[in-house]
Symmetry: C3
Subunit: 142 residues, 3 copies
């Protein structure tokens, strides 16, 4: 049973959903050493989120961004509005989608489905740098 923990920063992005599977894997070269295990990716922020979703048609990311805006629209009136009209909806979306995901590892790779990728959902309009704490546990390849 081996394990490792590291922190890295994702490229800053404006509001939207982004496929970041490659960026995650590049930041975690130690993944390749694990025969089997789990990786937990934890975002240290409250107005962005990590999720798993479709990895092929970029329209899905655009539709997701628009749909989340419909589910928690800026037009609602909020007490918390000092940081801009996109801030409180960002907090809502962050808890709906979630700050963290856990993915199985198999044979040195993420054991995701064929059409499944890791998404960063950035909910603030302005470009933000987001920090991720990655914790890997598992059995290493001999």
């Amino acid at each position: 049973m081996s394990w490792s923990q590291s922190t890295f920063t994702l490229s800053p992005r404006t509001r939207g959903c982004y496929l970041i599977t490659d960026e995650i894997v590049q930041n975690l070269p130690e993944l390749q050493e694990y025969k089997a295990g789990l990786v937990n990716l934890f975002m240290q922020h409250t107005s962005a989120a990590l999720t798993l979703n479709e990895n092929w048609d970029s329209d899905v990311r655009l539709d997701m961004t628009d749909s989340l805006e419909k589910i928690a629209p800026e037009s609602w009136s909020f007490r918390h509005d000092a940081e801009g009209s996109d801030d409180m909806p960002a907090h809502i979306k962050s808890s709906l989608i979630g700050a963290s995901i856990t993915i199985p590892i198999k044979g040195g790779r993420l054991a995701t489905g064929t059409w499944q990728g890791v998404w960063l959902c950035e909910f603030r309009r302005m470009r933000h740098s987001r920090k991720v704490v990655a914790t890997i546990q598992g059995e290493k390849l001999k």
Copy 2:
């Protein structure tokens, strides 16, 4: 500290929410060997989800299906619509509910609450087979 990883396929189902606690446990006989630990259930798909919810009244599952349809309705217009009008709403619901759950194990059983069960939420109208990667970590019974 012991651990194991396996992949199994859930019975194919049409759109709806289903109580699958027994199906999960039957697919994971090794659960009984763990005195305490965690099991991560990870669905390798992007238009279905796993969650924990009420295990007694089947009306809760029907109400959940209808409510998710209200939260992310097919009637919204989407860019991504080549796979049918239920496809993009399925992707949205999948990220809202989540592809994966982690459940504690205690005394060889899932340490869920009295009224808590594992649910499969299938968001596509057509019957789909869904693969789950189960990863267990913990301390085995002597």
Copy 3:
């Protein structure tokens, strides 16, 4: 590699979102012994949830409570209504937000971001006691 599992009960609360980081940490003194690791907090209930969100402005918690009520309102008609009009919406919110969170541990503390705290979201109007199963895995400090 060390690990521990314990169950504790959160102070009962009426409907709303609550910052419970301190209450969690007080219930888990063993956290301080871990150099690095993960803690999984699992709520054994289906009408409340755990999430991570903003830890500074209490208005965010009020806005979240109101917003979740807009996303899954009591005014919808439900089959499952014997336990009160707030019960089915509570089940929906519980699956949207999630019953469980996994947080990295670093240097004996939760490795949360500066503005990030643990929230209990109680979705029932009446005060409820909520049980949490905490499972910690990681490397202990020498």
